[in-house]
């Protein structure tokens, strides 16, 4: 049976690990490679490195981080943050990233999904969407709107329509990140992940809001997600990958045990 995946996201700024709360007040919490390696050895299923480096001259640090991770960690890992072109994607792929995560640049120019998917394959093309709950209107019939720039700019795009369009353009997987839930540790936005999961046929990774093991259980059952993305639950040492997996397996969720 196909296991549900536990994925951890490491936000990296200038080569250091950062954790954001509601996308503001990022703080440094250590060496990303050291953390990633510890999670890998504890049975993590997949890694995401998200580059939140602001200055373009420091962006090449990310290539070094990716190469280092690729030489030490033998599970799939994806890299995102600031990817605007096939050239950006190819560079990270050659450095060892299994998958490429695109977000704002695709929301602004959807054809980017097709271009990257044609170049590196749908299985390696991950579309991340940042989603905000808004009042239902004719333009946003689902009540979920796509936002970019860390939630500061609304795109006037319905999240469900965008999910379907992304799949058609060649995305192989979707990360659904709730801006409302992000950093709250009060649980994933289950209704959002469920409606997205029901409207596409590619895997859904739920993101934003995990604070307790029950939240992972909820999103992998009621939320319809194929994978649960977590960050601060692990980064501050409050929970372990193996502990979370034991808990979920104990509640009947298919989990890969060991590493």
């Amino acid at each position: 049976m196909l296991s549900r995946r536990i994925i951890s996201c490491l936000d990296v700024r200038d080569g250091h690990l950062a954790k954001s709360v509601k996308f503001v007040n990022t703080k440094n919490i250590g060496d990303p490679i050291e953390k990633a390696r510890a999670y890998y050895e504890d049975g993590l299923d997949e890694l995401v490195f998200y580059d939140i480096t602001a200055s373009s001259e420091k962006r090449d640090i990310m290539i070094d981080v990716v190469e280092e991770v690729a030489s030490q960690i033998f599970i799939p890992f994806s890299v995102g943050g600031g990817i605007r072109s096939v050239a950006d994607a190819t560079k990270l792929r050659l450095a060892g990233a299994e998958k490429i995560n695109i977000n704002s640049a695709a929301a602004k120019r959807p054809e980017l999904i097709r271009e990257i998917s044609d170049a590196i394959g749908a299985q390696s093309t991950v579309l991340s969407m940042d989603v905000l709950a808004v009042p239902v209107t004719a333009v946003i019939p689902s009540g979920y709107e796509i936002v970019i720039n860390g939630g500061r700019k609304a795109m006037g795009m319905d999240a469900i329509e965008w999910a379907k369009q992304s799949e058609q353009l060649g995305a192989g997987e979707l990360v659904v990140n709730s801006i409302d839930a992000d950093g709250t540790r009060e649980g994933y936005e289950l209704k959002l992940t469920r409606v997205v999961a029901d409207s596409v046929r590619i895997p859904i990774i739920a993101s934003g809001g995990a604070g307790k093991p029950e939240h992972l259980y909820d999103v992998l059952t009621d939320g319809g997600a194929d994978a649960a993305l977590i960050a601060s639950m692990l980064h501050y040492g409050e929970y372990t990958v193996s502990g979370l997996k034991q808990y979920l397996a104990g509640r009947g969720i298919a989990m890969r045990m060991g590493h």
């Binding site: 049976m1 196909l2 296991s3 549900r4 995946r5 890998y40 049975g43 299923d45 690729a70 030489s71 030490q72 033998f74 599970i75 799939p76 792929r93 050659l94 060892g96 299994e98 590196i120 394959g121 749908a122 299985q123 390696s124 192989g172 997987e173 046929r201 590619i202 895997p203 194929d226 994978a227 890969r256 045990m257 060991g258 590493h259």
Partner: protein, 214 residues
């Protein structure tokens, strides 16, 4: 037949360097390997890893144009140990439904696409799934019930003869995830992305004598 162990592994590169993750995994377990797109180096190799990602028809077309298809047949006939991975496990068959395209024809069979009527099952089959050995093979030694490997694919291998099937996975029906004959073995899953178990499989391949007898 070559002696077991210690030869350099030649990794066939037909995708512009995107298959380098296999080399990184070999490096991590101390296996010497080279990454090459030179047909002569492939034909003369002592031990081959034949990886693969992407579209089967495009891959086959690149292999033909570069001369690597012929080189693969030559090195296979020489009896050296060969490990195919993912699309590499599909192209060793007679034909692939993706395209469609002819394969290298090293093992009789073809590939098929998952045809899932249950809309809740996703395509591609992506993630960690249990690999269940159906008969003994030296490269699958040490796999215990419940052990999972990493998969990402929409097509799967279907060898004509059951005797070429060495392991199965369920999605939701059983399909062949490891196949082989004589000096050739291939996995639909990715050992280089499957954590400790995957690295162990690669290490076993490095010292395999090329015989399916356990």
């Amino acid at each position: 037949m070559p002696a077991a162990g210690s030869e350099m592994i030649t990794i066939v590169d037909y995708n512009g360097g995107n298959l380098r993750s296999v080399k990184r995994a070999c490096d991590a377990v101390g296996i010497d390997s080279v990454f090459t797109s030179d047909p002569e180096a492939v034909a003369a190799a002592d031990r081959i890893i034949f990886p693969g990602v992407g579209h089967a028809k495009a891959a086959m077309s690149t292999l033909r144009q570069s001369g690597l298809a012929e080189a693969m047949k030559t090195v296979h006939e020489r009896g050296v140990p060969i490990l195919g991975i993912c699309v590499g496990a599909q192209l060793i068959l007679d034909s692939c439904e993706e395209g469609p395209t002819d394969g290298l024809g090293l093992i009789p069979g073809q590939t098929r696409r998952f045809n899932l009527s249950d809309r809740s099952l996703k395509i591609p089959h992506m993630g960690w799934n249990e690999v269940r050995p159906t008969s003994d093979h030296p490269l699958l030694g040490g796999i215990r019930p419940g052990d999972a490997f990493y998969f990402v694919h929409s097509y799967f291998p279907c060898p004509t003869s059951n005797s070429d099937v060495f392991a199965e996975t369920d999605y939701p029906e059983a399909f062949c995830c490891a196949l082989g004959r004589d000096n050739l073995f291939a996995t639909q899953f990715h050992p280089e992305k499957s954590g400790r178990l995957g690295l162990e499989l690669l290490a076993r391949f490095a010292s395999w004598n090329g015989s399916a007898q356990a």
